[in-house]
């Protein structure tokens, strides 16, 4: 059973500047007695977050830059353990954050697929079985033999999405940035993501794109200054956040598709 339970969780980063981040300060500071009261400054990226997500949840994450979206995603992915409160994550997590990270620019696309898959808990044999499928989905063809540094941003997005969607994760965590692919691929990725979410588990998706949010998510969380400002149905939350109804600007084509999807399932 897939679930994420977060109770009163805070994430605080100690900020060590060049001076603080040395042994000298702690050793000398301690020897000097009381002066060491001056602590390392702390940035509170998340404060008292309560969240409960279950199977089938498709959550969009909105908020201004620096509101804590990415930190929340990393908390949900289990990368950061809360400094206060608790977070328990059950299910196989597949995160896609900054696309350049976790990918080695010097090795080929194939090898990156393999390493990414291993990181996500697959074994080598399972990944080798999936490589063809990923190659087909990403449409990268012979490019997969080239070092990753020769790829454009869009091609990297394709690769990353290809891997995470191929391994059947139970909890898919996507950070903004997947907008860099072209419209045709977007269509394909969207279907695949929908399919994936419908099949297995949970999606948490941070994005500024109305269209993406509307297509993939049904509820939303509005982050502001490290706290959850509002949580509820997508349309309400995003409309409050943006100050206008998000469905207004959507193309009729998208609306029609949404309607079809709503009626079929």
């Amino acid at each position: 059973m897939v679930s994420i339970e977060v109770r009163g969780a805070s994430v605080e980063f100690p900020i060590f500047d060049a001076k603080n981040r040395s042994l000298k300060k702690s050793v000398l500071g301690r020897a000097g007695g009381r002066i060491s009261e001056q602590k390392v400054p702390v940035v509170e990226a998340l404060r008292d977050v309560d969240l409960s997500l279950g199977q089938g949840d498709r959550v969009g994450l909105v908020g201004h830059n620096g509101a804590g979206k990415s930190t929340l995603l990393r908390l949900l992915a289990g990368i950061y353990e809360p400094t206060r409160g608790r977070a328990s994550i059950k299910g196989r997590v597949a995160p896609v954050f900054d696309l350049a990270v976790g990918m080695d620019p010097e090795i080929s696309g194939y090898e990156n697929i393999l390493i990414r898959g291993l990181f996500l808990g697959m074994n080598r044999r399972e990944m080798e079985r999936r490589v063809d499928e990923i190659a087909e989905f990403t449409e990268l063809g012979d490019y997969l033999n080239m070092p990753l540094r020769t790829y454009s941003t869009g091609m990297r997005v394709r690769l990353a999405l290809g891997v995470v969607t191929s391994i059947d994760p139970e909890i898919l965590i996507l950070d903004e940035g997947i907008g860099a692919v072209d419209a045709a691929f977007l269509e394909k990725a969207r279907d695949r993501l929908r399919d994936l979410v419908g099949r297995s588990g949970m999606l948490v998706f941070a994005s500024h794109s109305d269209e993406f949010l509307v297509e993939l998510c049904d509820t939303a969380i509005w982050m502001d200054g490290g706290v959850i400002r509002e949580q509820g149905p997508l349309r309400d939350v995003v409309s409050h956040y943006k100050g206008r109804d998000v469905f207004e600007n959507l193309s009729t084509e998208t609306l029609e598709r949404l309607e079809r999807q709503a009626s079929t399932g």
């Binding site: 100690p14 060590f16 042994l23 328990s88 997590v93 900054d98 393999l114 990181f119």
Partner: protein
């Protein structure tokens, strides 16, 4: 289905206590180690990748590791055997083996301090047990080491005659120790290497955690390792110091050498491979350091495992 990456998350929650779940628990620390071991395909691959990466687009690739080791051994072995008046036939293998294992040990220490810092990108963006970075670092050193074993085999083939019979390392010293020469005891080098690897793991883990928090540690460790290289009998031998314990500077150096932890680790590995007499005290000291070191490393893992992602 066994999903190693999940071990950590699953183990998170043995008994759901509403308000007091400490990330500092032995359960989670050991779960991290178990999950790390389970993901051996991952760190195995990453370790190989590191080596291939270093020699990418070079024609003979990782063979350079072997060649540079051979050059070092030949040059220093040749030079110092002349300087110290030691027979080259026994001194060359001695230096080769000493260098081989010193490279391994010092690389574990030096790259151990960088292990989490260097993997910062991965740690902050992918959920994975910390131990995979430790295993990756040590595994890379084992692969380097394997390349250097070739040099030992070559040197052994050349100087087998001199090593196969009893010999002394030093000429003209009445107190010089007579070594028995090669025998099946050489196989003791295998458990010795295993013990050294086990120590490489705690060193990497402990120094990695400390260095992630205090960025002064890597350069400090770097300069200490320089010092230790000189103080450890690698290009010189304690046989030069043999003699009565008469309080002379020579005798004092002999005592100081024994206080150097690296000496004991080198000795348990080197002595069997070059057919030298070996004292069991080296094994005792090495074993003691293993236990103390792992205890400290486990405490660090328990207390600071969840902090590393914040520090890097």
């Amino acid at each position: 289905m066994a999903v190693p990456a999940l071990a950590r998350q699953d183990a998170d929650d043995p008994a759901p206590v509403e308000n007091a779940p400490s990330p500092r628990s032995w359960g989670r620390a050991f779960a991290d180690i178990r999950a790390g071991i389970a993901q051996r395909e991952l760190w195995g691959h990453l370790g190989w990748q590191d080596i291939k990466q270093r020699y990418r687009r070079s024609v003979i690739g990782p063979l350079w590791i072997t060649i540079s080791m051979a050059v070092t051994a030949a040059a220093l072995g040749g030079l110092y055997s002349q300087l110290f008046g030691q027979p080259i036939g026994t001194f060359m293998p001695y230096v080769t083996v000493g260098f081989m294992i010193w490279y391994f040990i010092s690389a574990c220490v030096l790259e151990g301090t960088e292990t989490f810092i260097a993997n910062e990108g991965l740690i902050r963006f992918l959920p994975a047990p910390l131990m995979i970075y430790v295993f990756r670092t040590v595994w890379r050193q084992i692969l380097f080491f394997a390349h250097n074993v070739v040099v030992y085999v070559i040197v052994l083939a050349i100087f087998f005659q001199q090593l196969d019979e009893p010999y002394t390392m030093v000429r003209n010293n009445p107190h010089a120790i007579t070594h028995p020469g090669l025998s099946w005891w050489a196989l003791m080098a295998i458990p010795a290497f295993v013990l050294i690897v086990v120590n490489g793991l705690w060193v990497t883990l402990l120094f990695g955690i400390i260095s992630a928090r205090f960025r002064d540690i890597p350069p400090v460790v770097g300069s200490f390792m320089q010092l230790f290289f000189t103080m450890t009998p690698i290009i010189w031998t304690t046989d030069l110091l043999a003699g009565p314990d008469d309080g002379s500077p020579r005798a004092i150096i002999a005592v100081l050498a024994k206080l150097n932890p690296f000496y004991h680790f080198i000795e348990i590995f080197r002595a069997p491979l070059v057919g030298q007499v070996q004292s069991w005290t080296h094994w005792a000291v090495a074993g003691g350091i293993t236990i103390i070191g792992w205890t400290l490393a486990l405490i660090a893992l328990r207390n600071y495992r969840s902090r590393v992602a914040y520090w890097v």
